[in-house]
Symmetry: C2
Subunit: 413 residues, 2 copies
């Protein structure tokens, strides 16, 4: 039994006409002799509508009840799609998260998938060709409904593909694939034929919205080949998979931009052991994700601590730091929301030096001042002033010849 897993996002299921397009794709797979598990999101706008409704009823809605509310979005999608399938003569039915079941942890609103009953799921194919699976949802060990966090339908699809050992997980979306960078910023951006899990993880964590980051982690962990492609075109998209020989030959795969970060500096703290944890401990405890961190060289036994956090956590962070400031006797706390992060990403840089210096040099040539730098094995990130965001992306894209096919690039370094 050859099972394929397809996932369609909110824009792909928004309304009858678009669902008919989904139906055509599913019919094509059935005609090719496949059994089809089709994971659907809520129609675009529906989840936001439900969240707004919740907000009206409760300023801080109970997380468990919020999940009961928002899971109706996917429930509606799968019911309507299963109707379409039946009318088209397909042996189809809907499956909600708890019906499979998709067992999750009980962290409502951001539950993790613990187990999927793959045998029970496969058994449904005995008398069905198409199973319309509600994405984004599962249930905890008490049978309460849970959700997997924003974009969680990607994770549902990949986890299902992993559980049943599907050949591939097709993520259909409203873009043609993963690009070297955001085409809205850089018209020369090129669709990637392949990208490795690690690169995709970096792209996703740096603001590329094509795949939910946890779905990529899942795909990597269980080695699920993911095909990101457009619902509205038959063109192949981007394959996300393990690194292979051809990938290693590519120095840089993409340039990512993240405009959701801001910078905070704690000035003039006593440079002594434990000072970092006295600042970052309280932040971690309240769930603030600190990204880049720089500790200045000590002057007179004092130092400055600069770091970035998500903009939406700024207010919370400043409240926490007020307390911290009193305790550690820091002189001043400043913040700056007019910053952004640009990153150059590529598994190839593992084996090459010189990528960082070319990145810095190209930015310098355009007079873009670099405020902070962080690097990993496969990524170089620069914090810069936000006004230079688009310029920096285009500059880096050009510097690494990302508009060209990898084999057409002139000797890279």
């Amino acid at each position: 039994m050859d099972i394929v897993v397809l996932k369609f996002g909110g824009t792909s299921v928004a309304g009858l006409e678009r669902m008919r397009r989904v139906l055509a794709i599913v019919k094509r797979e059935v005609a090719a002799g496949h059994k089809v598990a089709v994971v659907l999101s809520a129609m675009s706008g529906e989840t936001n509508r439900l969240l707004t409704q919740a907000q009206e009823f409760s300023p801080e809605p109970d997380p468990a009840e919020l999940d009961v509310l928002v899971t109706t979005g996917e429930q509606i999608s799968v019911a309507l799609f299963a109707m379409l399938c039946k009318d088209a003569g397909l042996a189809a039915r809907s499956l909600l998260g708890y019906q499979i079941p998709i067992d999750t942890s009980c962290e409502f609103g951001r539950a993790r998938i613990l187990n999927i009953d793959a045998d029970k799921f496969r058994n449904h194919f005995a008398d069905h060709d198409v199973l319309a699976v509600a994405g984004f949802q599962g249930c905890d060990c008490n049978g309460r409904l849970t959700t997997l966090g924003r974009g969680g339908s990607d994770t549902s699809a990949v986890a299902l593909a992993a559980a049943i050992r599907a050949r591939v997980c097709d993520i259909y979306t409203d873009v043609p694939g993963v690009f070297t960078t955001d085409p809205n910023i850089c018209p020369e951006a090129r669709k990637l034929a392949h990208i490795s899990y690690d690169e995709m993880l970096e792209m996703a964590s740096q603001g590329a919205k094509v795949l939910q980051i946890r779905s990529v982690e899942f795909a990597k962990k269980y080695n699920v080949k993911v095909h990101v492609r457009s619902t509205f075109s038959d063109e192949p998209g981007t394959i996300v998979s393990q690194e292979d020989q051809s990938m290693e030959a590519v120095l840089v795969s993409g340039v990512a931009l993240d405009r959701n970060q801001c910078r905070v500096t704690v000035y003039d703290v006593l440079d002594q052991p434990g000072i970092a944890s006295s600042i970052f401990g309280p932040l971690a405890k309240e769930g603030v994700l600190v990204d880049m961190i720089i500790q200045n060289t000590s002057r007179d036994g004092h130092t400055d601590m600069t770091f970035t956090i998500p903009k939406i956590d700024l207010k919370k962070t400043l409240t926490i730091l007020e307390e911290v400031q009193k305790r550690i006797g820091a002189k001043e706390i400043q913040h700056d929301v007019g910053v952004c992060k640009v990153s150059v990403i590529g598994v190839g840089m593992r084996n090459h030096s010189g990528v960082a210096s070319r990145a810095f040099e190209s930015l310098a040539n355009e007079n873009v001042n670099i405020l902070m730098i962080s690097t990993s094995e496969i990524k170089i990130t620069c914090l810069i002033e936000d006004k230079y965001a688009e310029l920096a992306v285009r500059t880096l894209h050009e510097a690494f010849q990302l508009d060209k096919e990898p084999n057409e690039r002139v000797c890279e370094l």
Copy 2:
């Protein structure tokens, strides 16, 4: 543990302000030391919205998937209400049909409740004061979602009350109780303090919309006292319960009107054994509920067959009868949609004669021609021309002095 079961209909939960009113009632019960099971319908309009959406996707939606779709209505109600309860400091949670579980038959769209796990349900009260139960829904033996048919939340509430042996089941609605007749037609209509199950069944089957008929059957079967009352007033409503002494003293309890019937006549059929079944058999097979039936006295070995059916089944009925006509050689088939049924209902008429003749006489006095008559132990029904509907209701209401309290009525017969 003193558990009360409250049920609130669609108009009672339509929007934040109205749900706050529901919350106030629930808080009052909790303050009185009760554990509260509160069964909610979908917000008014929501179920119709979902049905319209289904219709857009499929002219005849798959019944199983339709249930997956429409159960979201109640799911949204209970999630939002549970949020309100939590914010008000109540230990509350939502419970969907399959979570209780409410086991039903697998007739999607009109499932019957088979079992409710009362112990499991009661156990939820160990750490909750309020359980917000989604009405109208259950699940079949395969774990698929089912619904109980229009108005099914009444049945959910009564069945739950029966299962946990609650003292009373309060059905909160947008009217103050059960009336002697429709107050929109007869301003003298009076709210009944009590009504027996049997009378309520007749009232409901004759078009009174206050309670779903199956909920009354359930209440009767398990002897659950039902209190029908208004969400928007603290006045007591109508108690539906077993007959008692005081009820027997009342001759007539109410007058009901049903405008959804039409009349069909099959002319000049051979009067021989089996002729009735050759007409009504095919109709029953297609699910057409035939109500009143008259077979004329035979002339020359031929007879006419007149009966009433729901207006919505007229087209289907005529198609079926065309076939029947050919087979049995009937001369002609006519139909009339300009008719209605008025009924006089009361358990007291079991022990009294003369009710029928007074009903006929009072209609005759107003020149209302009676087209068909049917009677039962506790009901007299007349089919009349629809144009006389309101006049007939008012006439019968007055003839039996229903505007007066029972003990103020002048010697009735």
